[in-house]
């Protein structure tokens, strides 16, 4: 057994009984398999293609207290604890997640509860469903979060998931989300991270889309410590469309790694992807986006763009757009750019009396706003405009700013 996994397997050996008691049958069923996978594989090293840019073992090495608290879900429309789900989730739970991924397996092993968001067929959810994850605690804590989103035929919903941290301790979040977008369903899903420098986030989101379904996933990393987001979309029904947008604002020593896969399995599907990063100070960004067009997936239309702005010479960006096509009648494009601040624009603004700092801020904001502007939900868009502006002005996570920075 690999050394780095030992603290987790030993912990599980101690708490297995109480984990199983607090949890439910559908979540307990795959635990043994998860334990085997996790022990056998160990944390992925940087030699594993999809983990090239982030050192997983190092992120999981600290001695965290592991939270094993069941959820309390009360009067939240369409949201249920897994044990109280109105639909049988046996065929859904852990069916989409990558069972050969040690980080996912660890979540399957240690999650005691899961949130089910279930939207029945032909139901249009009027108000966005908002899930706020607030990290609180005096001690360094690891949280395993598990979410199932089940959108039945022609269901429509907006889901906003936010991550926040209140206390200035180390938090490690390991999230697994499985999204089932049924035929003709429409889902807009937003994930907003606004934590602090001591937070580490691992997220693995798996999406399966049925015929004529539309999914839009927007990932926004506004403030973080270390973040690794995996997002896999499998287009399994003809006529389905997916939009993956993301924006990252990082400075100091922040690390943000987005790794996406769009798997075109059938003909006549469309995918669009736009990720933009603004990196300042000594922050590190990584983006790897793989578009896979399988044999027979004719008439696929796919666009992938990753654009990055490095505001300093010590900020680093790794970008890897990938297009793999096994069909011969498709329209696909992909590209990435890494640029610096436009000196001519900076000078132009300074000549008009705008301070250098404000001019830089305007340029960064202009760069990132393109992603915010794609958000159809007006209230969220307005709020994000405000948050982005505050973030770039250094007014977000203020206490963090004075504690660890000058």
């Amino acid at each position: 057994m690999a050394e780095d996994t030992r603290q987790y397997t030993e912990f599980y050996a101690q708490v297995e009984k109480s984990v199983r008691e607090r949890s439910c049958e559908v979540m307990n069923a795959p635990r043994n398999e998860a334990l085997q996978t996790f022990s056998a594989l160990g944390f992925p090293t940087r030699k594993v293609e999809r983990y090239k840019y982030t050192d997983v073992a190092e992120d999981f090495a600290p001695d965290y207290g592991i939270a094993l608290t069941p959820l309390e879900v009360k009067d939240l429309p369409y949201c249920y604890r897994i044990s109280e789900s109105p639909v049988d989730v046996t065929s859904y739970y852990n069916s989409l997640a990558d069972r050969q991924d040690a980080v996912v397996a660890l979540n399957t092993l240690l999650s005691v509860d899961a949130l089910v968001i279930y939207v029945p067929r032909n139901t249009k959810v009027e108000h966005p469903i908002q899930i706020s994850n607030i990290l609180k605690g005096e001690h360094d804590t690891m949280v395993n979060r598990r979410i199932l989103v089940i959108m039945e035929e022609c269901a429509e919903a907006d889901i906003v998931i936010t991550d926040k941290a209140v206390d200035q301790t180390h938090f490690l979040t390991n999230q697994v989300v499985e999204v089932f977008a049924g035929d003709g369903s429409h889902l807009n899903m937003y994930e907003v991270e606004e934590t602090h420098l001591l937070c580490t986030r691992y997220s693995s989101v798996f999406v399966r889309q049925g015929r004529d379904s539309q999914v839009r996933h927007t990932s926004l990393t506004l403030f973080n410590g270390r973040t690794r987001n995996r997002l896999d979309v499998s287009l399994q029904g003809q006529g389905s469309e997916v939009i993956l947008n993301g924006c990252v604002i990082a400075d100091k020593t922040q690390h943000v790694d987005n790794n996406t896969l769009i798997d075109h399995q059938v003909p006549h599907c469309q995918s669009n992807e736009l990720y933009k990063y603004v990196l300042d100070d000594s922050s590190v960004g990584a983006f790897a986006g793989r578009i896979l067009v399988r044999e027979g997936a004719q008439k696929t239309v796919s666009n992938e763009t990753n654009a990055n702005l490095c505001a300093t010479s010590s900020a680093r960006m790794y970008t890897q757009p990938m297009l793999e096509i096994y069909a011969d009648d498709v329209k696909c494009s992909h590209g990435s750019t890494v640029g610096q601040m436009n000196d001519d624009a900076l000078f132009y603004m300074r000549q008009r009396g705008i301070s250098e700092q404000e001019a830089r801020l305007l340029l960064k904001s202009a760069f990132i706003i393109e992603v915010i502007e794609t958000i159809p939900l007006e209230a969220l868009r307005d709020r994000l405009h405000m948050l982005v502006d505050k973030r770039l002005r250094g007014e977000l996570s203020k206490c963090e700013g004075c504690k660890l920075c000058k």
Partner: protein, 250 residues
């Protein structure tokens, strides 16, 4: 207003200005003419503090203050404005946000409160009329998708908004058709007061017909070789620069 003494400047190690002396008094318009590469644009860039240029010798005194010690934004707050030869496109930064940031920075420098959103937009509407700038343009990103003429009009519009005391027009007439030239020049004239001065860099008499400069300078090889009244511009239009070169022995 502006006094330049023995100014030397270089870019990428190459000396371009080799001892410029120039005095512009309140209310005066001076024109600088000269062949391509003579250093006209370098002079304007040095005055506004472009970081690519290095001043190796000399001084620039603006209303008694040492301009060369100031950052570009401080020079702007003091009242120095450059109408760029090639205005920069800034995608994603709206004209409104850009102008508001510029105006409020200046107001802050003057110890004034920022303008309210309503007053600001009213001011934008008023000043737009001076150069007949379409509201369609001021609702876009800075200079993005503007034609050559619209960019130059936008420069004068910004000048109207910021009310500088000393403006440099760097080939503001280049790329303009006859009508646009008239609009830009008349716009500039509307903004003139006995307290404002300007330095106009141009190759052509046409712009000067409108602006009626008080003094004409000829810049050759990084030095001002001849200074005279407005009649000099007409003579250059007719005879070119060769006779001046011969006269000064270049």
């Amino acid at each position: 207003m502006l006094q330049i003494n023995n100014l030397h400047a270089r870019i990428n190690g190459k000396e371009i200005l080799k001892g410029i002396n120039l005095t512009v008094r309140d209310g005066e318009v001076h024109a600088i003419m000269g062949l391509n590469g003579a250093g006209k644009s370098t002079l304007s860039n040095v005055i506004v503090g472009h970081p690519a240029y290095e001043v190796t010798q000399g001084e620039v005194i603006f209303n008694g203050k040492d301009l060369l010690k100031m950052t570009p934004e401080e020079r702007a707050h003091e009242g120095v404005f450059l109408s760029f030869q090639q205005p920069v496109e800034i995608p994603g930064v709206s004209m409104v946000n850009f102008m508001r940031a510029a105006l409020n920075a200046k107001r802050q420098f003057q110890g004034l409160e920022p303008l309210s959103a309503g007053d600001f937009l009213k001011l934008m509407r008023e000043k737009r009329k001076i150069v007949e700038l379409d509201s369609r343009l001021t609702s876009r990103s800075v200079n993005e998708g503007f034609s050559g003429g619209e960019k130059k009009r936008n420069e004068i519009f910004q000048m109207a908004m910021l009310e500088p005391t000393f403006s440099i027009l760097d080939e503001t007439d280049s790329g303009l058709d006859v009508d646009a030239l008239r609009i830009v020049a008349e716009g500039f004239n509307k903004l003139r007061t006995p307290q404002t001065s300007a330095l106009v860099i141009t190759h052509y008499q046409r712009l000067l017909d409108y602006l009626k400069p008080d003094v004409i300078h000829v810049l050759i090889g990084g030095m001002i070789v001849k200074t005279a009244g407005p009649e000099l511009a007409l003579e250059i239009e007719n005879r070119g620069f060769d006779w001046i070169k011969e006269e000064v022995g270049l």
